[in-house]
């Protein structure tokens, strides 16, 4: 398929005066063009409102030289301190848990080998799935014994320059009948090793790049300046270092230090510190984890492993092509930089979105649209079609690839989402926006970013003034960034929340703010932002919930903050406490309408139903499944914290069997789990007042936004929403 013009910005949210740097990779030689647009609607589906944008004159409009900017995925650790290690005799060793031995490529464990010129040395797993050592242009020394995935091994290579002898071996931590637990191979090196390059862990050098990425965990790597005996190697597994052998140890990295950082600490005293590249996963159980503690903070010595992946990616590090300094009079809203190039077939283009807030501490409208950037990141470049063995069973459709899916499948290296598994089958815990995100774009599937443009489209059509703020701002500034607003409207699927974000919204509603929750499966997963690294979130699929993958036992606590991840409901804060509703079920074949309940006749909600008949079916139309209630749906439950005075004003219950009940409610397997047999597969539309004159409106449905534009925006979903907005921006206390 044809090449794409790609890009990203260094920030998603910008204030007037902020500089936003755009980084573009343009495949066609020559030039590319760029201009600024305000995005109104990204839904270009035949039934939808159509793609709508407004050109905005700006300093970035123009023509730029095209260049290709590469993405270098794959994590590793680089010993940055100084040029190590010129040792006549040495032993390198580590504990490893390989996860993808036999991927057809060498996978380096540690050393300074440089494949570009064949100098230096490395301990690695070879293409035949055996532990091997290579040095200079000598033939590699292999144990000749295949290694098993997901088993802990002690691995080592010992070199004695006096004899030229190399011993390479492994010891299995779990042995099986008929399988030797310890194997080794001895050979003589005839040729010199040569100087090598940087000392790397989990990759080797390929000139100034890294290659031969290791997939799996590495724990307790050591370098000693002496040819150790097997029994001595074993004595160096633990920290603190064996007192007798410590004198020979040149470097001993303790990956449990600086867990939340990219720093890697050498505890030998020789200060061979390093840094990790592309965010390999930290706070991973080590070889000695024994379930005596599940939290890395209380027993860091059991968390000395880093899990490296050949497809980890944090920051593409592209060069800036142009910078937009956000003009003071631009106006808050959703903007895109539109870039394009001519091709022999026509044109290739991209829209790179970013979000402009009003000046700090001010509001230019009583309503704020809270853009769920954390949830956009969670889904960034998702490849569920290949990651999920249950993809079709969940969707009840044959897998259907969009052009974005196909491009990401065909072009490795764009980084994954927290919905995906790495190439080794382990779950993805980190996601950043410092890379092109192909599904956070207009004219893509109606999910997250593009579905949320149904809200901007409707607000613009109804001439309802609004500002936009993002999760990034909410996390950084807390409730202060919400205070200038009478009403806050969420996106269609605000699923991923940090503690700071959840606290801020709860403080906002408790303080008299009004919250319109325009989606479902919101406030569901606990995530962390990084305190120092921009643009990246962490998540663990802990314990329960509708999980794309399972976190391993002992790996529920996030490396960035030490908080337990997983469901907010399993952290004592079910979404019901904030918005009355919580995720009940999902299905992606069709959506259904709501029906009003007797509670909708309560005078407390008469404002909501002005102009809507008592028996009117609500939302039996829409571009997302043909109804206003669907895709993912929420349900009230006072046991989970739905306020007792909440009014369920409408409900949808006619869900087909393609709707599947959430598993966190299923304590025990049984067969009544689908929409046609399970009464808990339902969608509740809800209203309740909050302390100090505030209120919450909950749609309980992701597809709701797709109904707003129906019939020229003249429909009862639009009417009801407008009724709510009008009352919610009215300062009169509830």
């Amino acid at each position: 398929m044809s090449e794409r013009i790609l890009g990203y910005s260094d920030r998603l949210s910008a204030l007037p005066g902020d500089a936003v740097n755009f980084k573009i990779s343009a495949p066609m030689p020559g030039k590319f063009k760029a201009r600024l647009v305000r995005l109104i609607c990204g839904d270009d589906s035949p039934e939808g409102p159509g793609f709508k944008s407004k050109n905005v004159d700006s300093e970035i409009d123009g023509t730029y030289p095209a260049r290709h900017q590469p993405i270098l995925a794959g994590s590793y650790m680089w010993v940055t301190a100084r040029q190590p290690f010129d040792l006549p005799n040495f032993t390198v060793q580590a504990m490893i848990w390989p996860t993808l031995p036999g991927n057809g490529k060498p996978q380096a464990i540690l050393g300074n080998y440089d494949a570009a010129n064949g100098s230096g040395y490395a301990l690695y797993i070879d293409e035949l799935v055996c532990l091997a050592f290579r040095a200079g242009k000598n033939p590699p020394v292999s144990t000749g014994v295949k290694m098993l995935a997901r088993h802990w091994y002690e691995v080592y290579a010992v070199y004695d320059s006096g004899t030229g002898r190399v011993v390479v071996g492994h010891n299995m931590m779990l042995t099986y009948h008929g399988m030797p637990g310890s194997v080794s191979e001895t050979q003589m090196l005839a040729e010199p090793m040569g100087e090598g390059g940087r000392f790397l862990i989990a990759a080797w050098n390929d000139d100034k790049f890294a290659s031969a990425h290791f997939n799996g965990k590495i724990d307790g790597p050591r370098v000693s300046g002496r040819a150790l005996k097997p029994a001595e190697i074993e004595r160096l597994r633990d920290l603190p270092l064996d007192v007798e052998l410590a004198q020979y140890v040149v470097a001993a990295w303790d990956f449990s230090r600086g867990m939340s950082t990219v720093k890697v600490t050498d505890v030998s005293g020789n200060r061979y510190h390093g840094r990790s590249i592309n965010l390999p996963t930290r706070a991973m159980t080590g070889w000695n984890w024994d379930s005596s503690d599940f939290n890395w903070q209380s027993k860091p010595e059991h968390y000395g492993a880093i899990h490296f992946h050949d497809d980890d990616l944090y920051d593409c590090g592209w060069r800036t092509d142009f910078t937009l300094t956000v003009p003071a009079d631009l106006g808050s809203g959703v903007y895109c930089v539109h870039v394009w190039q001519k091709t022999p077939e026509g044109k290739i283009e991209d829209y790179i979105p970013f979000f402009v807030r009003p000046a700090r501490g001010t509001a230019t409208a009583p309503l704020a649209l809270l853009i769920p950037t954390a949830s956009y990141l969670a889904y960034a470049n998702q490849q569920m079609i290949s990651s999920w063995w249950f993809d079709e069973l969940s969707s009840c459709k044959f897998a259907t690839m969009s052009s974005v899916d196909q491009y990401l499948e065909e072009h490795e290296g764009f980084g994954l989402s927290v919905y995906d598994e790495h190439s080794d089958g382990s779950g993805v815990c980190y996601s950043s926006h410092l890379r092109p995100i192909l599904n956070m774009r207009p004219k893509t599937d109606l999910w997250q970013f593009n579905a949320d443009t149904h809200l901007t489209d409707w607000l613009e059509k109804k001439k309802i003034p609004y500002d936009v703020i993002t999760d990034d701002d909410l996390h950084a500034e807390g409730v202060d960034c919400l205070r200038p607003y009478r009403c806050v409207m969420t996106g269609t699927h605000p699923e991923y929340y940090s503690k700071a974000m959840l606290d801020a919204l709860q403080a906002y509603t408790n303080g008299g703010g009004r919250l319109m929750y325009m989606g479902a499966n919101g406030f569901y997963w606990r995530i962390a932002y990084h305190a120092g690294l921009p643009g990246v979130i962490e998540h663990r699929r802990a314990e329960d919930g509708m999980r794309a993958w399972f976190s391993e036992s002992g790996e529920y606590f996030m490396s960035f903050t030490g908080e337990m991840s997983g469901l907010w409901a399993r952290n004592g804060r079910p979404p019901n406490m904030l918005v009355g509703n919580a995720f009940a079920a999902q299905g992606f074949v069709e959506s259904v309408p709501y029906h009003r309940t007797p509670e909708s006749q309560d005078p407390r909600v008469s404002f909501m139903f002005e102009g809507i008949g008592a028996d009117e079916v609500i939302g039996d139309f829409g571009t997302v499944g043909g109804g206003a209630a669907g895709w993912e749906i929420d349900r009230a439950d006072t046991r989970l914290g739905t306020p007792p005075h909440a009014l369920i004003v409408a409900a949808a219950t006619d869900f087909p069997d393609s709707y599947h009940w959430v598993n966190e409610e299923m304590n025990h397997t049984h067969s009544a789990v689908n929409g046609d047999t399970n009464p808990r597969v339902r969608c509740d539309m809800m209203f309740f007042e909050t302390p100090n004159g505030g209120a919450v409106f909950s749609t309980g449905s992701i597809s709701y936004g797709g109904s707003l534009a129906h019939d020229g925006y003249k429909n009862n979903v639009s009417r009801l929403t407008e009724n709510v907005v009008k009352r919610f921006v009215d300062p009169t206390p509830f």
Binding site: D311, S386, S403
Partner: protein, 104 residues
Amino acid sequence: MIKIDPQSAQSAALATQFKAAPFGPYSADLQKLLQLLRWGFVRGRTIIICTKPYKEWRLGRMAPRRGLPVEVSEREVFTDYGAAAWACFRARWQEVVGQPCPVK
């Protein structure tokens, strides 16, 4: 566990039912049959590739791992998603059952 018997009249009836309404509603027996056709990773199996958004679909197949071209069938072009789903059903039947789907 149930097995799909490609010779049985019931199997043919279920295939006919899918052809008539590729997006349901499905009978309980058809749902079970679809679960058998859909169990597991789709890599290497026939899937649907949308080649023009909302307008055009073809059958295709992912390569054994990420980073390789997706095989897109040139044989048939569908301008109706339901027709693509039916073609995918038949191809998947062949892959899972090992014999052709009895309904053309």
